[in-house]
C-alpha cells in the first residue's frame, strides 16, 4: 500500500459506485432502460484488476460499467451509452451490456453468459502467436463457470499454454440461483486447479485483488500459460433492475457490507496514516461533480439519427454484397 495507489483505488472505486447509484436513479426516471446490471459491492474486483492488468486485452460480461471506467473509459460516454445516445461509446446501439472500446483493448459487455470466454481464449492465442507478452484478461461470474464454454476454454488455454487470466467474480448468485445448488462446491478455483495455477482471494479487498492480478500478470509475461483467480465478492443490488434480490438473507448481506471495499480501504488507509482524511472528502466532491457532468452530457446528447439503424451491420466496403 502506498499513498498514490490507495488514492487511485479509492477514486476509481468511489467513482464507480457513484456512477452506479446515479445510473440506478436515472433508470427509475426512465432515462435508462433495458437490463442494467449494477456492480455495487464488487468495485474492488473491477478496479484492482484493471489497475494491475494495465496493458493487454480485456474481455468481459455484461456487468461492466465500473470495469470500463477503471479501464479508462470516460464516465460521460458510458453514461451516454446507457441513455442510448449517439455520443455513447457504442453510439447508443449497445446499451448497458455492450461497452466496446478497442482503443482501450476493451471488448466488453457480452450478454451471453460465458460467450466471451472462447473468444478471449482465441485472442490469447493471437497474442501468443504475435509474441505479445501482456496477454488477455477475461472476467466472468460464478454462474459462467457452469457453462460448457468455460470448461472448453480452460482446457484449451491450458493445453496451449495461452497467456490468459481467468478472473471469476464469485458473488455466489447467478440471478437467483446460489452457486452451491447447481455446482458441487462453492469455492470455484477448484474447477481450474488441475489445469493452471488457481487461487481464491478476498474480492472485497482491492489491494488483494491488485496483488493477485499482478502476480498472475507476471506469470503470463513469463510465458507459463493461463492463470485462474477466484475473487469472493458480493453484489448489494439485485441481479438487474428487475430483480429485488429477495432470495438472499439480511444477515448474509450485512456480513458483506461490513467488508465493503470502499469503506475498508478508507478505514485502513486512515488507520495506517497513509492518506490524510481530507483527501477523501475532496475526492468525493470531485466525483459528485464528475457524475453530474456525465449525466448532463448524456441528457443533452443527441439521439442517434434514424439512418444509423442500417449503419455498422457490415464494414462499408462490404455493403454492396447485400444491397
Amino acid at each position: 500500500m502506498n499513498s498514490a495507489r490507495v488514492k487511485t483505488f479509492y477514486y476509481l472505486m468511489k467513482l464507480g459506485r457513484e456512477f452506479e447509484l446515479a445510473a440506478k436513479q436515472e433508470y427509475m426516471k426512465g432515462n435508462i432502460a433495458g437490463f442494467l446490471h449494477l456492480d455495487i459491492g464488487q468495485e474492488a474486483c473491477s478496479v484492482g484488476s484493471m489497475q494491475a492488468f494495465d496493458k493487454g486485452d480485456v474481455f468481459t460480461h455484461y456487468r461492466e460499467h465500473v470495469l470500463a471506467i477503471a479501464r479508462g473509459m470516460d464516465p460521460k460516454v458510458v453514461m451516454a451509452e446507457l441513455f442510448g445516445k449517439a455520443t455513447g461509446v457504442s453510439k447508443g446501439k449497445g446499451g448497458s451490456m455492450h461497452l466496446f472500446d478497442p482503443t482501450l483493448s476493451f471488448y466488453g459487455g457480452d450478454a451471453i453468459v460465458a460467450g466471451h470466454l472462447p473468444i478471449a481464449t482465441g485472442c490469447a492465442y493471437a497474442r501468443k502467436v504475435q509474441g505479445e507478452k501482456a496477454g488477455v484478461f477475461a472476467i466472468f461470474g460464478d454462474g459462467a463457470t457452469n457453462a460448457g464454454a468455460f470448461f472448453e476454454s480452460i482446457n484449451i488455454a491450458a493445453a496451449w499454454k495461452l497467456p490468459l487470466i481467468f478472473f471469476c467474480e464469485n458473488n455466489y448468485y447467478a440471478i437467483g440461483t446460489r452457486i452451491g445448488w447447481v455446482s458441487p462446491f462453492e469455492e470455484l478455483f477448484n474447477k481450474a486447479k488441475n489445469y493452471m495455477p488457481a487461487k481464491r482471494i478476498d474480492g472485497m479487498d482491492v489491494c488483494e485483488v491488485y496483488k493477485a492480478v499482478t502476480e498472475a500478470k507476471e506469470y503470463l509475461e513469463n510465458g507459463l500459460g493461463p492463470y485462474f483467480i477466484e475473487a469472493e465478492t458480493y453484489r448489494y443490488e439485485g441481479h438487474s433492475m428487475s430483480d429485488n434480490g429477495k432470495y438472499r438473507s439480511e444477515e448474509e448481506m450485512e456480513i458483506f457490507k461490513s467488508r465493503d471495499p470502499i469503506e475498508k480501504l478508507k478505514r485502513e488507509a486512515i488507520a495506517l496514516g497513509i492518506v490524510e482524511e481530507s483527501y477523501f472528502d475532496e475526492t468525493d466532491k470531485k466525483i459528485e461533480q464528475e457524475i453530474n457532468e456525465a449525466i448532463e452530457f448524456a441528457a443533452n446528447s443527441p439521439e442517434p439519427e434514424l439512418n444509423e439503424l442500417y449503419e455498422d451491420v457490415y464494414c462499408k466496403e462490404c455493403t454492396n454484397v447485400v444491397s
Partner: protein, 325 residues
C-alpha cells in the same frame, strides 16, 4: 388472466395430473422463474420435479431429452430464445431426429419453452425471433402462443404430446391481462380467425397479433375495406386450410412478423401461398417484417427495426393503393 398465469396453470395441472411431468431450467425453482411462469411450483412439487439448473443450455435440453428417454415428461425452460442457440445441437441433431433415426422406436416427449422477440431495449443479444430456425427442422413441432387461452390449452397439449415441441412465447406478453376461455376439444394446430373480413387477409402470430389488431381500424378506414386477421398459432405444422379458406374469400394476403425479413418465417408462409394459391390472388403478397439488422438498444432505433401499428397501417395502405384496393 395474465398470460404468464395461463402458462403456470397449464404446467401446474399437467404436473398434478401426471407424476412424470417435470420442469427444468435456470431459476425455475426457488426463484420462481425469471418471468414468474413457474411461480409456486417448487413449493408444491419439490426439487425433484422443479429443477434448478446451472447456466448450461445445451445440458438443459440434452438432459431433458435423456429424461424423456428415461420415462419422464420434461418441460425445459430456456430463459430467452437467444440462449437456445447454445442448445440448438441438442434440439436439432438429437431431439428432432431420434425418432426417425431409430426407425420409429424412440419417442421424445419433450417440450422446450422459450420467450423471444423484441422487448424493451434489451439490445441485440436478447431480442431475436428465431422461430424460422426451429420451424425449418423436420421432427419438431413449433407452437407460438400469443394469448392466454391458446397458451394454456396448447401448452398442456404439448406436454402430453410424444413428439418434441418448441413452445414459443413473447417477453412482452407475460404481464398482459387477457381474456381466458376454457375449451373442450382444443386443437393447438389450428390457426385462429381473430377477426373476420372480406377484402384482405392479414396473417400474423405472437406479439404482432396485437400490433396488427391495433392497425386494422386505420387500414379499414383508409382503404375502405374489411380485413380478416388470422393468428397462425402453429408454425409447424402450418394450418394451410384456414389460410386457404380465407385467401379464397379475400384474394389478398399480407403477413406481419417481428423477425428479420430475409429468411424470416413469413418467407416460408408466403412461398407456400404463392405455390398453392397463386391463381386465387388478386395482388402480390406483402411481407411486413423486421429490418435486416441486429436489434439496437436505443428505443427509437429499436422501434424502427420492427413493425409497429403505425408502420403496419402505412405500409398496407400504400400497398393497397398500388394494387387496386
Amino acid at each position: 388472466m395474465l398470460y404468464r398465469e395461463a402458462l403456470n396453470r397449464a404446467i401446474d395441472e399437467a404436473m398434478a395430473a401426471d407424476e412424470s411431468v417435470v420442469i427444468l431450467g435456470e431459476d425455475v425453482g426457488r426463484y420462481g422463474g425469471s418471468y414468474r411462469v413457474s411461480e409456486g411450483l417448487f413449493a408444491k412439487y419439490g426439487a425433484k420435479r422443479v429443477i434448478d439448473t446451472p447456466i448450461a443450455e445445451l445440458s438443459i435440453v440434452g438432459n431433458a431429452i435423456g429424461m424423456a428417454i428415461g420415462g419422464l415428461r420434461p418441460i425445459a425452460e430456456i430463459m430467452t430464445v437467444n440462449f437456445s442457440l447454445l442448445a440448438m445441437d441438442q434440439i436439432v441433431n438429437h431431439a428432432a431426429k431420434f425418432r426417425y433415426m431409430s426407425g420409429g422406436k424412440m419417442t421424445i416427449p419433450l417440450t422446450v419453452r422459450m420467450p423471444g422477440g423484441v422487448s424493451r431495449q434489451l439490445a441485440a443479444q436478447h431480442s431475436e425471433s428465431y422461430e424460422t430456425l426451429y420451424a425449418s427442422i423436420p421432427g419438431l413441432i413449433v407452437l407460438a402462443a400469443s394469448n392466454a387461452t391458446y397458451a394454456y390449452h396448447a401448452l398442456k397439449h404439448a406436454i402430453f404430446l410424444n413428439d418434441p415441441v418448441i413452445f414459443l412465447e413473447h417477453e412482452l406478453l407475460y404481464p398482459m391481462e387477457m381474456e381466458f376461455e376454457e375449451k373442450a376439444n382444443f386443437d393447438p394446430f389450428k390457426a385462429e380467425v381473430v377477426k373476420e373480413g372480406d377484402d384482405l387477409t392479414i396473417l400474423t402470430y405472437l406479439k404482432m397479433r396485437y400490433d396488427v389488431l391495433e392497425a386494422v381500424p386505420t387500414i379499414e378506414k383508409e382503404l375502405g375495406i374489411s380485413v380478416e386477421v388470422i393468428d397462425l398459432n402453429s408454425l409447424r405444422p402450418l394450418d394451410m386450410k384456414t389460410i386457404s379458406n380465407s385467401i379464397k374469400k379475400t384474394k389478398r394476403v399480407v403477413l406481419v412478423e417481428e423477425d428479420h425479413k430475409t429468411g424470416g418465417y413469413g418467407a416460408e408462409v408466403i412461398a407456400r401461398i404463392t405455390e398453392e394459391l397463386f391463381y386465387e390472388l388478386d395482388a402480390p403478397p406483402l411481407r411486413i417484417a423486421g429490418e435486416d439488422v441486429p436489434i439496437p438498444y436505443n428505443r427509437t432505433l429499436e422501434l424502427a427495426s420492427i413493425p409497429t401499428p403505425d408502420k403496419i397501417a402505412a405500409q398496407i395502405k400504400l400497398w393497397g393503393q398500388n394494387h387496386g384496393l
